[in-house]
Symmetry: C2
Subunit: 187 residues, 2 copies
């Protein structure tokens, strides 16, 4: 419960700018109650970030589960960003992008976690494209690594715009564009 | 000098998590020296953000200045993101995206400024495309508003990835893709 509520708070407000008082307010616990479970704010932020990543990983897994074709699995990845825009499964946007912007100029343990988690997401998308090439669904002319960067960059950028303006038009336009881009992979 | 040094600090470390002590350290001034110029931290953050936006606006203006065709002007917008990746004209990445991620869940005066500044950037890119259509350089089939969203989303997302990993490959891949996308506008 502490981790879940803390992760929501950190994802919305940022890690560095959130104080233990914020977490006390969010959880209704006293300082001692929090420090009984976590040695330091650092430990709490790391566990909260890991929790966010687990929630997202499970959400991606569920999204692609029933999709047979790799095109539909990639479309399912796009749909996860539509969910994030609506505040689901986590409020506050994509924890990886939030972490990327907050920690790009730092080298903490949390920054390393953000870096490895974003790589996992890029590799996940790249893997779907490579699988599509192996099963002759996608052309081998597609550079899977480059395509994964284009897809994730465009999704993260447009989600940030939609969240900034509380208007889905930015993400919707990007999804429309990316659907055509992904369709162009097919043989 | 206070504004310039503060804007660098805020752009790298974030606005909410930076304290007046950080600004004292950055500028070498005592607290009284800072508050002689600014009524509050809020006033300082707003002036520092506005300063960042001015620097960026001037940099975009310089980048497109000698470019005649709208295609080359759009390519010049891409080159500004290459500069940002190298920490120029501001260290810490794009102040608009940094602000978007930090303030998307808030409704402060600074959040409003981030929103209006990001709209200005989108409109600037949209305007270049519309101009290209008016002068018969670009096809009227291109949806200028959608295209501006795609270009800015992809640039902002890939810049964030390149800054996260201190590796230009993410931005380079995105620029390669966007150059082809922009070339597809031409009649």
């Amino acid at each position: 419960m502490i981790i879940s509520k803390s992760s929501t708070h950190f994802n919305k407000k940022g890690y560095a700018s959130s104080s233990i008082s914020d977490i006390m307010e969010e959880t209704g616990l006293k300082k001692g109650g929090i420090y009984r479970h976590f040695e330091s704010k650092k430990e709490l932020t790391i566990e909260a970030f890991e929790y966010s990543v687990q929630i997202m990983t499970e959400h991606y897994r569920q999204a692609i589960k029933d999709k047979k074709s790799m095109q539909n699995r990639l479309f399912a990845v796009l749909s996860v960003f539509q969910d994030l825009e609506k505040g689901f499964p986590l409020p506050g946007g994509c924890p990886l992008m939030n972490g990327a912007i907050e920690f790009d100029d730092t080298s903490s343990e949390l920054a390393s976690l953000v870096r490895s988690s974003m790589i996992d997401l890029l590799k996940f998308v790249e893997g779907l494209i490579v699988k599509g090439q192996e099963t002759n669904e996608f052309s081998v002319d597609v550079n899977a690594k480059q395509a994964s960067i284009i897809i994730i960059s465009t999704l993260e950028g447009s989600l940030a715009l939609s969240r900034l303006y509380h208007d889905s038009i930015y993400l919707d336009n990007a999804l429309d564009h990316l659907q055509n881009y992904i369709r162009s992979f097919s043989i």
